[in-house]
């Protein structure tokens, strides 16, 4: 099955790239955008039919490698 993981910076962490994107959008005329936060998206193909087990595995690898928990949060989205 396919599992998707979204990684975002924690709220109290400065995101200079997001800020530049927001400022650029403002310069392009999209001037009602107050904030942009940039993150990462992973699509993981996993050989596991049991949804619960698959989710547990992805949770484990998200904590151990994909995310640095000092600055980032992860969110798992299941899909088939």
């Amino acid at each position: 099955m396919k599992v998707q993981v979204i990684i975002t910076l924690k709220k109290n962490v400065l995101d200079p790239q997001g800020k530049v994107i927001q400022q650029t959008l403002d310069g392009m005329g999209f001037n009602n955008i107050s904030e942009v936060r940039q993150g990462k998206f992973f699509e993981i193909e996993i050989d596991e039919k049991d949804q619960k087990k698959a989710k547990e595995k992805v949770e484990d690898l998200s904590k151990k490698l994909l995310t640095n928990l000092v600055i980032e949060d992860y969110k798992i989205i299941e899909s088939q």
């Binding site: 400065l14 790239q17 490698l65 640095n68 000092v70 600055i71």
Partner: protein, 227 residues
């Protein structure tokens, strides 16, 4: 004194570090990231560079490579480990050191000489060093040191801050913070002070004619402390 430098795919300061260590009397060996055992060493160095192309997060992939199990073990037994620049990022990703390095505040790659003030001399790296402020070189895109409020209190209380960015007289303020690091932090220790990570490159400051000699001061002092 025996030392070793670990080369990861994408390391590019490994040879410079080898030259510097040998110049000041270390018997240095190079170790490949896929090796399993460390050679007998009094000092292990993780060099600067762009290990694994900085994929995912700087240092994150290297921190899981084969040799790192031995490196982590060596640290836990009290072995001296020094990570410079990307090596510092790798040590943070192993959680041997607290915190994380974010992209520089103004999103630019910074390559210049800076001054750093030695904050703690009660450790094998800076004990007896005769200068309080060193002129060293930095070259990085992700050197913006960050940690949680609880962590900053903890590293302060345990005297784990090794170096601050400063001016040449050791004054620490926002004007001499090149990358946005919390409290101008340029380097930190683990609690036990046997592991040091820092952004500046002492190995680039060992030639009187080309660079000045503050790196030489650091290495001469280091080998004497380890003897």
């Amino acid at each position: 004194m025996d030392s070793c430098v670990i080369t990861f795919p994408g390391s590019n300061c490994d040879r410079d570090m080898d030259v510097a260590l040998k110049q000041f009397g270390f018997k240095n060996k190079m170790v490949w990231h896929n090796d399993i055992e460390l050679p007998k060493s009094d000092l292990v160095v993780l060099p600067g560079g762009f290990s694994y192309g900085d994929y995912l997060r700087c240092g994150s992939v290297a921190s899981k490579s084969k040799i790192m199990k031995s490196v982590i073990n060596f640290a836990k037994l009290g072995g001296k480990i020094m990570g410079i620049c990307n090596g510092f990022q790798i040590l943070l990703e192993t959680e041997l050191l607290p915190g994380v390095l974010l992209r520089n505040k103004y999103l630019e790659f910074i390559c210049k000489n800076v001054f750093v003030k030695v904050n703690n001399k009660d450790n094998p790296y800076f004990k007896n060093i005769k200068k309080d402020t060193l002129e060293l070189h930095i070259a990085h895109n992700e050197g913006n040191y960050f940690c949680s409020k609880e962590q900053i209190k903890e590293i302060n209380d345990n005297n784990q801050i090794a170096l601050y960015y400063s001016d040449k007289d050791g004054k620490i303020n926002e004007n001499n913070n090149p990358n946005g690091s919390i409290k101008n932090i340029a380097g930190v220790f683990n609690k036990e002070k046997n592991v040091l990570g820092m952004m500046p490159h002492p190995e680039r400051m060992i030639d009187l004619d080309l660079s000045g000699e503050d790196g030489s001061i650091f290495f001469k002092n280091l080998i004497n402390n380890l003897k």
